[in-house]
Point group: C2
Chain length 227, copies 2
Amino acid sequence: MNHAVILLSGGLDSATVAAIARADGQELFALTIDYNQRHQVELDAARNVAQFLGIQNQIVLPVDLRLFGSSSLTDEIDVPKDVPKDQIGRSIPNTYVPARNTVFLSLALAYAETVGAREIYLGISAVDFSGYPDCRPEFLTAFEQLANAATKLGVETSGFRIHAPLLHWSKAKTIRRGLELGLDYGLTWTCYDPAPNGLSCGRCESCSLRLQGFREAGVSDPLIYEK
Amino acid sequence: MNHAVILLSGGLDSATVAAIARADGQELFALTIDYNQRHQVELDAARNVAQFLGIQNQIVLPVDLRLFGSSSLTDEIDVPKDVPKDQIGRSIPNTYVPARNTVFLSLALAYAETVGAREIYLGISAVDFSGYPDCRPEFLTAFEQLANAATKLGVETSGFRIHAPLLHWSKAKTIRRGLELGLDYGLTWTCYDPAPNGLSCGRCESCSLRLQGFREAGVSDPLIYEK
């Protein structure tokens, strides 16, 4: 079996990618970043998804991106609610965390080199979040080139590959593929701004995209929402 | 004044680069990574150098790279001593931390975007550490391309620049430049494996390169060594 690192957040996308990588025959090493996101419930979801998929190796690494501020995912900035559907993903939203995917992929690269893995999987999508610069194919290509210049393993083999299978998939397609692979989406977490009672809000950009995806896939979301 | 981020480790090289960047007229934002290096005294050195240079903004960010293991800088692996001088820098040494400079530059990029800086300075050298893949010009070029693809500021301006002024300098040249700029090298720290009494060992690869640099520069090192 090949070794592969998966950036596993506990969200719907990275859980689906983990299931895809497993179906590809990869032995997975999961890296979950605890960046003091406002929604700590994501970390529990990441652990539950790893267990569900039989992933033996998981590191939960604290990196306090709050120190850098300026995102509604880590600061006390209001998460936008009820954004008109045609506006979602059209500009860089205030949930953007500066250089987040660069930091995460760099840590995944360090983990990969340590365990002798040359495959790195992550669940970014250029469809849902076209406004995030680090969710675009150009970003992935640039990172792959960097990985092969930056590491002992990369220089010796030119073999690092970044896999983002969802890059051009709709959320509905992602959900259908995950269900085919037997994934339990009730274990995942999506909401950027849970209600005080702990339920998903159903109204933030992230919830809206998820709910729309389930509607388009023609299946019901196993999560319970505040409204 | 331009804003610039400096990766400040407390070592001789990054202290010199900070002095150079200050002389360039940059307003500096220092990022010091606490990666549970065995030599915690480095962090004190980084704080002292920042204070000496009048740097107002410094973040000390914990990132526990020990989780990834496999380097003598973070593990209980013996640091090599008394390496023959002609062997230094010829292969990838066991002090190599997987993807370290990639992780550090990614965090610097996050900090830079947060404070609106497009200049990032770091003290790597292709002369002293040619064996480290992430101390080569190819690595810096690849990272600059990544930075301009990965961030809002980079996409909007294509303006990120990575400055590694020491890249082709000998240690002696670095020391002479730092002394011209009034730097106090007694505040810096270099040793990979300090003696139990807290003094620099004088025999590890890092100490050897430093001592050789001072000899070649024709000045005495203000640090006190075990032998």
